[in-house]
């Protein structure tokens, strides 16, 4: 080992340690920020360790790439609003996958179109470009849906799953062929192309409410692609960082799937939103009770214990600041306010927490589902803001409902329920929500932000 390789390896080991410590710090909210700054330092160390590599002989392209990347990355870090976090994360999965895939393709090309590629290396390159390519297009589709450039409803056509599976099987077949005979550029590039198309067909039929699972899964794939890059170029820090990312995405996808009481396969191939309405319950013969902001404000003004249940509707209306303002008033009147966060509320894991933290809600008031579900029966008012399926009692009682078995927030057990909702349109799953027709439920119709502003005004008056 030359001093130079010792320096490089030492930098990589230090970086790996700092990455792991950084992730560990995320288990303790008060230490998370400092820990992640250490991880960023680790990244810097790894970059410095790399640029002294003897293989690097010219720097102009490196500097150009670093400069351009910083120019694009800085605004993506500083200016993107918290409400846009799901699409921001989706597009960053794409960038990560682009880097991994291009390294894989260039590696294959530079090793005389595969003629100099050994079998273990081909295995690594194959995984790298397969995971990478499907993540590029899959993440881009997810971004398009979340940014509403594409319809967020599932797009389906007959035989879609069959076509998708056939494409994937062909790509895997080409991979196996390449393992036998790596010097086969046609098979290699065809595999990349198929994986790209497969990424599109994978995300196209997935609807908005299933995005938390898809984003987590793509997160995992992007990590695995990075890890495979590490195998392909023989670099351990890539393997480690990619494995951490892969594990994280995998765990999050499991948590999200469980919170919807569905399997991966069902999310990916089920096209939930397109399923016919099979709910046993209909709204016929039932009436909802509408409430005016004045009456709702009186209830809130007298409430001792209020639980706020935010959903995607709060994010869409960007109403988190008004929520916080209303909570401050209730607290000033001597009431207490807690927030019940369902794991799949919003469009990505933890989305609601970030929005409420942005509005200055202290994080010890943000309660996970298991933590708060027993509290609802003591609550004077449960204030549901743009949430629907995650508070639908049919998940507990109605075996015919598509969401039967999904863990929900026990909002219906609160003494009074006020639901802020734009209109009586059913939620994403197209299922009627019994909660809205319950005796103790009142509906406050209108844009969440406007309704909350009125409530704030009225509570102030009171």
């Amino acid at each position: 080992m030359t001093p130079r390789t010792i320096f490089i390896e030492a930098a990589y080991i230090l970086a790996s340690i700092l990455f792991i410590l950084g992730l560990r710090s995320l288990t303790i909210p008060d230490k998370a920020r400092r820990g992640m700054q250490l991880a960023a330092l680790g990244m810097l160390v790894a970059i410095i360790g790399t640029v002294v590599n003897h293989e690097i002989v010219r720097y102009e392209w490196i500097l150009a790439g670093l400069a351009l990347g910083t120019l694009i990355g800085y605004p993506l870090g500083v200016y993107v609003p918290m409400t846009a976090m799901p699409q921001r994360i989706a597009i960053s999965h794409m960038f990560g996958a682009v880097a991994a895939t291009l390294v894989g393709v260039a590696e294959f090309y530079a090793l005389r179109q595969g003629a100099d590629v050994t079998r273990p290396q081909m295995a690594a390159l194959g995984f790298e470009v397969l995971f990478g390519a499907l993540t590029i297009t899959g993440s881009f589709m997810a971004f398009g849906k979340l940014q509403e450039l594409l319809p967020s409803k599932p797009v389906t056509f007959p035989g879609q799953n069959l076509v998708s599976i056939a494409m994937f099987a062909t790509a895997v077949g080409l991979f196996v062929w390449l393992l036998v005979d790596p010097a086969n550029p046609v098979a290699f590039y065809a595999m990349v192309a198929l994986a790209l198309v497969f990424g599109i067909s994978l995300v196209l039929p997935i609807g908005g409410a299933d995005m938390p699972v898809v984003i987590s899964l793509l997160n995992s794939y992007a990590g695995l692609a990075s890890s495979a890059t590490g195998f392909a170029i023989g670099n351990n820090v890539l393997i480690i960082a990619g494995a951490l990312d892969g594990a994280s995405g995998f765990i999050l996808s499991i948590i999200m799937s469980k919170a919807m009481n569905r399997s991966f396969a069902n999310v990916l191939f089920g096209a939930f939103g397109a399923a016919p309405k099979s709910s046993a319950k209909t709204s016929e013969g039932l009436t909802v009770r509408a409430i005016t902001p004045e009456d709702a404000a009186i209830q809130l003004g007298f409430a001792r214990q209020v639980i706020v249940v935010p959903g995607y509707g709060m994010a869409v209306a960007q109403a988190q600041h008004q929520v916080r303002e209303l909570a401050s008033l209730i607290e000033k009147n001597g009431g207490s306010v807690l927030y019940a966060i369902h794991p799949v509320a919003g469009r990505m894991p933890g989305h609601m927490n970030v929005l409420l933290a942005e509005a200055d809600v202290p994080y010890d008031k943000l309660k996970e589902m298991e933590e708060i579900n027993d509290e609802f029966k003591n609550a004077d008012v449960a204030l549901v803001i743009g949430a629907n399926d995650v508070v639908n009692p049919a998940a507990r009682s109605d075996k015919g409902s598509p969401i039967y078995g999904m863990p929900i927030l026990n909002v219906d057990q609160a003494k009074q329920v006020i639901v802020l909702k734009r209109s009586m349109n059913p939620g994403f799953a197209g299922i009627e929500n019994e909660l809205f027709y319950a005796q103790n439920t009142a509906m406050l119709f209108g844009d969440a932000k406007a309704s909350l502003a009125k409530l704030v005004h009225e509570v102030k008056q009171g």
């Binding site: 392209w61 790439g65 880097a99 916080r324 794991p343």
Partner: protein, 111 residues
């Protein structure tokens, strides 16, 4: 240099790192799942390391250009990813560590 023994060693590293990741990340509270995702995304932009070598190794025009695009993409995630993670984590405060609320305090009165 890249024989079968080293491939096997790399597999060890991968599996062990996967375990470390699994046991660490299962303990991250749901509260921080969004920052977790942006953090792991920033960290896995370490593929920048591979991209840098590709862009600077002078192995021909095509690999260099692919390397340049890869360096750009990975740098976007490194810079943007760590900044946005920090921005999010900065917002999470406990009740006792938070400055008194500016909003809502001015108007209204006790019932």
């Amino acid at each position: 240099m890249h024989g079968e023994t080293s491939s096997l060693l790399e597999l060890y590293v991968f599996i062990l790192a996967g375990f470390v990741g699994f046991f660490t990340i299962t303990r991250v509270p749901a509260l921080l799942h969004t920052p977790l995702m942006s953090a792991t995304n920033a960290i896995s932009a370490i593929s920048l390391v591979g991209s840098l070598v590709l862009a600077g190794a002078d192995r021909g025009m095509l690999p260099t250009i692919l390397g340049f695009v890869a360096v750009t993409s990975a740098t976007i995630n490194v810079v943007g990813g760590f900044i946005i993670t920090d921005r999010m984590l900065k917002m999470f405060k406990r009740a006792d560590k938070r400055p008194p609320p500016a909003q809502g305090a001015a108007g209204g009165g006790a019932k």
